[in-house]
Amino acid sequence: MTDTVHEESKTPQDDRKEVSRRWLLLKAGALFNAVVGIAIATPVVRYLLDPVRRKSFYNSWISLGPLNQFPAGETRLATYVNPYRQPWDGTTDDTACWVRHISGSSFQVFAINCAHLGCPVRWFPQSELFMCPCHGGVYYADGERASGPPERGLFQYQYKVVNDELHIYAGQMPTLANSARLRVLNNTGNKGCSSCAG
């Protein structure tokens, strides 16, 4: 049985010095495809960069609930639903933070994330310390760094009291890159917090 599909064939070679029609067409075709490629790439890049937004895009004022949840002199865990969310986020939208009610209308609201690498810090009311389970960062009650690898104190949210409710300005995972926006300058009512206030 002979079943030959391929057969040796000889292609005529072009003279390289001559600008032939087929080479001109090929070059024009390559150029055309490059233009189409850029036309496609532009929306793709825009699509990929969508999450990169300005600082104010993600953040907004969120209520942590009535003030009476936060007795003066105590530090309590509060949770809120992140304002920027998708229906398929599940429980990941729920965010925790530590609220320290100093006195009167003076508060400190700390991010749950350690300033070192973002692990959840835990408050120990007896020793009045925050401890991080990952690399052993420890912070004082006012958020100031006590020991361990963090370079700075705990991240703080801006807050305000509206209609007997505590509101914070939040929406992003606090990191060293956006921490400046989370710091509260001269608003903590606690002069001991010099390092964490910048």
């Binding site: 990941t92 939208d93 925790a96 835990r122 009650a141 361990g148 690898p149």
Partner: protein
Amino acid sequence: MRWVKQTYNWLESRLQLEGPVKDAVLHPVPRNTASWWYVFGSAAFTLLILQIVTGILLALVYVPSAGEAWNSLNMLNHQLPLGWFLRAMHGWGSNFMVAIVLIHMAQVFMFGSYKYPRELTWILGVFLLLMTLGMAFTGQVLRFDQDSYWGLGIGASIVSRVPFIGRSLVHLLLGGPIIAGATLTRFFALHVFIIPGALLLFACAHVWMVLKLGINEWPMPGRAVRRSTYIAEYNKLTHEDGIPFFPGAFWKDLYFSGAIIAAVVVCAAVFGPYGPSGQPDPTIIRTVPKPDFFFLWIYALLAYLPPSLETPFLLIAPVLAIAGLVALPFMAGEGEKSWHRRPIAVLTLVTVAVIWGVFTNLATYTPWSPKMNAWSSDTVPERYLHGLTPVERRGAIVFQAMQCRNCHSIGGQGGERGPALDSVATRLTEDQLIRQVIQGGGNMPAYGKNLSPSQVTALVSFLDTLHPHNQPEAVDSAERAVTTIPAETGAKSSTKVKASASPQASAAPAGN
């Protein structure tokens, strides 16, 4: 059986694969490369295929949604028949793959295989290692549990340290402002499409080059690589002392790959799947996140780096390490291949292996982390409480209640962040203890603000009892002088002169 031959011929005349396959399979390799040392590359490729197959099978069920991923994994573990086994195969296959790729790399480094003309094979190998590690990390993310969630947090925190564009990079990494649904879907795309696609492509190019350039000959001391002569020498070697790759060398690859897959099956069956641990709910903060085995060394490194060095190290060291690996075949493209003549290479490999092993081992018990429950779960050993005064006993209670135990062990139980305190009284005098408690220092928080003066007195008096019976308490040298004078004059007094500064007095300046 004529129809088999006819079908084969029909296919072959169209596909025309026989020639290239025969070339590849029967190409001569140096006789001494048919060694058990040369089986790791093929085993890594076999594991890649295993990961692709088990991965596709898991993708039939897994839901890449932040709201459902964790549930679908639990469904796989507990409800789907043998779903747990497939997850275990994929998890253990991943561990084996990273391990085999690392061993393969160490082997080709030791054998000088990266030298001329196999530079590009090595460089592709470096990227294959990076992609394998990328698969391991993204795979850990897809196991969307608490470790995965906080592991992403650590990743985002590292990325945030990049100057100027850190914030944008965090948003790109997470797909938004927080770890949520968009984060999981992009890591799913990375783990299932982007990295495996590139990995497969690179692996095929890697194998192609091994076939085209020939497998590296067994390194012999004195047989140095020179660009001008190597190709001719290698061809001479394969033709004079060569055997066909199949079956001469191939049978060992076959056995080893089979053994590795069997080992994955045994591990999967005996140890079961990895997690998922607790659900990825960031409001559950009673968690102690930990990375998977092959990232433990980074976890340890991040605990031990001085804070000021951390950001430069995190951003510069990986670039330098990758650049170094890529540059290696260009820096040392010629010369001796044998490890007998390459002491620096041997020392480098041993040093890296020892450092890696030490850091990994440390990260298995994390001595740098406070034990979050030690204060409430570990009791003060009874023998430390015998014959104590009420004040000293109160000190023991302060010791427990103030979480000292989270960082300091006594009786072998408690944290290891700070020193064990079983014999602290032999090291520190009462004054020094007071100062240490109130002012902290040396990685200990200052407790001056958090303890009342009476608590400090009680705590220090308890700590002062912590010394073996046959060892005296530490005494200030000045005090010793005071106490020894009466002894020399024959007086019976051996009572220790108490510290002049009371805790109350020293608490005030320390409280700032």
